[in-house]
């Protein structure tokens, strides 16, 4: 089981409390689709993803970005049991969506960069370290039902 110090719990709650899911979610998914274009393969029904502007203005990308980031709320609210919390989502991503687990790390990295952009120097190395720990646990949990 993952151990969290009081300081880490406070940091996670503080970071999450400042994140506007309606903005950060869409920006993050758009960023993944732009920086790692092969991920567009998973979104064949989303319409125009032909360039950065199209992706950033795409309403389906925006809606799905919110869905994805809202799911992170489960981790923040269940820090002591992230693996079980994500078991169903893991199965979904493996069996139905067939997403290569490598992509979870790409999304995590883009989310970190979008948050760094939004927070500026308040995203200190210490905050980054705690946030990275949370995302690593989430990525591991999402991969856990794959095999």
């Amino acid at each position: 089981m993952v151990e969290w110090s009081d300081s880490e719990r406070k940091t996670v709650a503080s970071v999450w409390g400042k994140i506007n899911v309606g903005e950060i979610g869409p920006q993050t998914l758009a960023r993944v689709l732009i920086v790692y274009p092969w991920t567009q393969r998973y979104f064949g029904t989303f319409g125009d993803l032909s360039n950065a502007a199209a992706i950033q203005g795409n309403p389906k990308v925006s809606a799905h970005g919110k869905t994805v980031l809202n799911a992170l709320d489960k981790a923040v609210k269940n820090m002591d049991n992230i693996k079980a919390t994500y078991a169903q989502l893991s199965q979904l991503h493996c069996e139905k969506l067939n997403v290569d687990p490598g992509n979870f790390k790409l999304l995590a990295n883009c989310l970190t960069i979008i948050i760094a952009t939004a927070f500026g120097p308040a995203f200190t190395p210490e905050v980054q370290a705690t946030w990275q720990k949370l995302l690593s646990v989430v990525v591991s949990a999402l991969t856990s039902q794959y095999f």
Partner: protein, 143 residues
């Protein structure tokens, strides 16, 4: 994933905006890497201070970032131009290639923190590709 003319143009334009802060960016990127990915400390066994404002972190950040800034002007032949750095990393440093991605990520985070308006999605993909190309050039002599 080779650098297109557009990538090179984005990288050059962005580097023009950041180059006078390159040393500080390097220091912060290396500092973040050591704090967020503590396994990277293994490559610095004689260091005594791994904090962000340590003189050792400052010096190494400058060394790394100077080489990267140098590479901006060498994008047409990174493998050729970085050959001696590749020898160094292959034979003396023996840096596990996974660390290129780790440092690159921390450079991107540092850029995002300090240049929120200039570090757009299009700059992000161009710089990410550039850092990957630099990493490949440094790993070129690995085996």
């Amino acid at each position: 994933m080779s650098l297109t003319a557009k990538d090179k143009a984005f990288v050059k334009a962005f580097w023009g905006k950041i180059s006078d802060q390159a040393d500080a960016i390097g220091q912060e990127a290396v500092g973040r890497m050591l704090i967020v990915y503590p396994q990277t400390k293994i490559y610095f066994p004689d260091w005594t201070d791994f904090s962000l404002d340590s003189p050792q972190v400052k010096k190494h950040g400058k060394t790394v970032m100077s080489a990267i800034t140098d590479a901006v002007g060498k994008m047409d032949d990174l493998i050729g131009e970085m050959s001696s750095l590749s020898d160094l990393h292959a034979t003396k440093v023996r840096l596990d290639p996974v660390n290129f991605k780790i440092l690159s990520h921390n450079i991107l985070v540092t850029l995002a923190v300090h240049f929120p308006t200039d570090f757009t999605a299009e700059v992000h993909v161009a710089v990410d590709k550039f850092l990957a190309a630099v990493s490949a050039a440094i790993a070129d002599k690995y085996r």
